[in-house]
Symmetry: C2
Subunit: 394 residues, 2 copies
């Protein structure tokens, strides 16, 4: 088999360490690849006024598979703030490079598995009817439409007169008629039928492949009749091709209430871009939070894999990195799934499961420490120690 | 003092029993009022093609304070389905009467307190660093903008050509340019500056009155620059008048991840209509869910109080009602707060707290029972028994 080239985009802050540590795992499991570095993030925004330089786009264009670390999207100190306002004065607006990547390469299928590893002290627990405690196994996978919806950038404050006129003419309700335009802000949720079909279809295919019995659409069709309505309509059509899988519909609000009731009842979830973002974070919280939240952004012939955490600038100050690398390692594991390296992917997941089940090597988040001070005393593992343990368990 | 007239809107299903049982509590606490019944809900949709008849609007118009039970918004059997499609063929579309009430009477301030009662077996629990279990006291109050946002009804499938042209001309991105109009759905999030100001101001006033130290805006300004941006902008201005209260900003996704981490860190939350709906349900889940989720919809000189649960049609079959009335009783308690009957309001809340702390009288949901069968054996209380216990503890 030809050797793959993977575009690595460490980005800012902890992105750098979790990505380089993850490559150690990929090498240890015997995945053969060349890695080519690409610039992305805050530094390039400051230096070039562009957090996603064209040369990075070109690299992904060429190699089609990327690993993304994390990015800083807000100034963290006064010097950075000054720079940001200087750039703004030049007419430059910061944009999220990961959102841009998803849209530029049409990575419209976002997959966010939220699966609890036995032994993780951060797993969700609840009371049983007889007063005991139980830890329900969570195994939800969110399929988030990744390019449209409220992320379409179709927004205005002080919308142009003609647009206002159109809105008022066609809207079912026009109670904002008396609001002066400069006091009116609009953000438009854009759904296309094709994108609805694609995300639902991938969710069903995934459910089938992994033996799940249901797919649940999490939207708000009683209020968003047109957008949520379109997604539900297409889902009903596609479900006909998968008679063995049940199609459910939960309103997003109800789903968030059930989050802490019966999270084990939910299997594959489909939602629009914003609701998918919210739900996946909700479920991720049940299985350990930021240190465990992995994701895949997949298009027709291109994919980028990323932990969903940020760059956590406060941890940069530490000489030895203490952050949990599992979200990044699991994202790389999803890359192996995508590249059809299934046995290697499975070995990585098993090694993580084994490491966590042993309850010996735990990063500071798993020890519920909020600062650096306690880490050494209470025996929390560093990023590198966690990766060593995973490699030892491969 | 003049005797109040309260408009009671039991609506459908369990709405009827929780409302009548709640009035027993109001009477027992010595609240003097006349109650006037108003028609609302599914029956009137079926009978008149209008779930919110004009006579109900007139009654609220006159008396300005209402108690709302619950409504059914979907057909529950074949006969109802047939009727619904018959009405639709006549060109009638079902609309949510509670959403309509909020908008018609400009009840733009929605308050949803999510406070845990000690002794409630449904309270959220988590592991401590040393392997123990703790139950963090949750006391979050969501201030949800209640009339605008994605509830504005500004929606289209197959948007008119002129509107599309405007969107494409003015939008920051126009990647949906190639989508045929009939395959395009749009739902518009509408924020007005005045509504932003009003909700933020009420949140700060509430925080001050109740001794909270912070107000947190839960939006997504990194993506929804215009709408979330406007809310944050106004919040920053209003915060200046409350120097003793901190203003925080959490992205809605992050907030949902933290929901099961440190829910006790969040005090007063402000969000748009849809995000407020989602967050309040998330927090409600931590303090017992549907049976405990109360709310107030408040305008300038008019208010409607409602539990946020639905009509739960499956429980209609039981001869003795088994549903938890606390969400409705707590909503009535919020009505007393609104009417400045503070000591009576406090007595009701104390009586509920005492009842729950005693752990003797518990409805089926608190016993984690999913069906009627076990209720008698396991000793779950009926709706009436719970209300009797609350009255005894007044
Ligand atoms: C950084 C932010 C724009 C992004 C999103 O909202 O998609 C993040 O929350 C995520 O989930 O990947
Ligand atoms: C019934 C529904 C339209 C309503 C809403 O979304 O506002 C409900 O979820 C609520 O929270 O009161």
């Amino acid at each position: 088999m030809q050797k793959r080239t993977i575009v690595t985009m460490p980005g800012d802050g902890i992105g750098k360490v979790v990505l380089s540590e993850t490559i150690r795992v990929l090498e240890a499991v015997g995945f053969e690849a060349d890695y080519v570095h690409a610039d992305i993030g805050w530094d390039f925004w400051c230096q070039e006024g562009n957090p996603l330089p064209q040369r990075t786009i070109d690299l992904i264009e060429k190699h089609r598979v990327g690993l993304f670390g994390a990015i800083t999207s807000k100034p963290n100190n006064e010097a950075q703030e000054e720079l940001a306002s200087h750039l703004q004065n030049q007419g430059l607006t910061y944009f999220s490079p990961i959102v841009k990547l998803r849209q530029h390469f049409d990575l419209d299928i976002c997959i966010r598995p939220c699966k609890s590893f036995t032994g993780n002290p951060l797993n969700f627990i609840r009371r049983t009817a007889d007063g005991g405690i139980e830890e329900p196994p969570v195994n939800a996978v969110v399929f988030r439409q990744n390019t449209e919806g409220l992320y379409a950038g179709v927004e205005w404050t002080n919308p142009p007169r003609e647009l206002r006129d159109e809105l008022e003419k066609h809207a079912r309700m026009a109670f904002f008629k008396e609001v002066p335009s400069e006091d009116l802000a609009l953000s438009t949720r854009v759904f296309s039928r094709e994108a609805c079909r694609r995300i639902v279809k991938q969710a069903f295919l995934y459910a089938k492949k992994h033996g799940h019995k249901s797919v649940t659409i999490c939207e708000k069709p009683n209020v968003l009749r047109e957008t949520s309505g379109m997604l539900e309509e297409e889902a009903a059509k596609i479900a006909k091709d998968f008679p063995e899988i049940a199609l459910y519909s939960n309103n997003i609000d109800a789903q968030m209430m059930w989050l802490t009731k019966n999270p084990e009842d939910t299997e594959v979830i489909v939602a629009g871009n914003m609701f998918g973002d919210i739900i996946s974070d909700g479920f991720a919280g049940l299985v350990g939070g930021l240190g465990f939240a992995c994701s895949a952004n997949i298009g027709d012939d291109c994919a980028v894999f990323e932990p969903t955490h940020g760059s956590a600038p406060k941890y940069e100050a530490y000489s030895t990195s203490i952050v949990n690398p599992i979200a990044m390692v699991m994202s790389a594991k999803m890359m192996l799934d995508y590249l059809d390296e299934l046995p290697k992917a499975q070995r990585i997941e098993n090694a993580i499961a084994k490491t966590i089940a042993a309850c010996e090597v735990q990063t500071y988040d798993m020890k519920k420490m909020r600062g650096r001070e306690d880490v050494v005393e209470k025996g929390a593992a560093s990023t590198k120690q966690m990766v060593d343990a995973i490699i030892a368990n491969l």
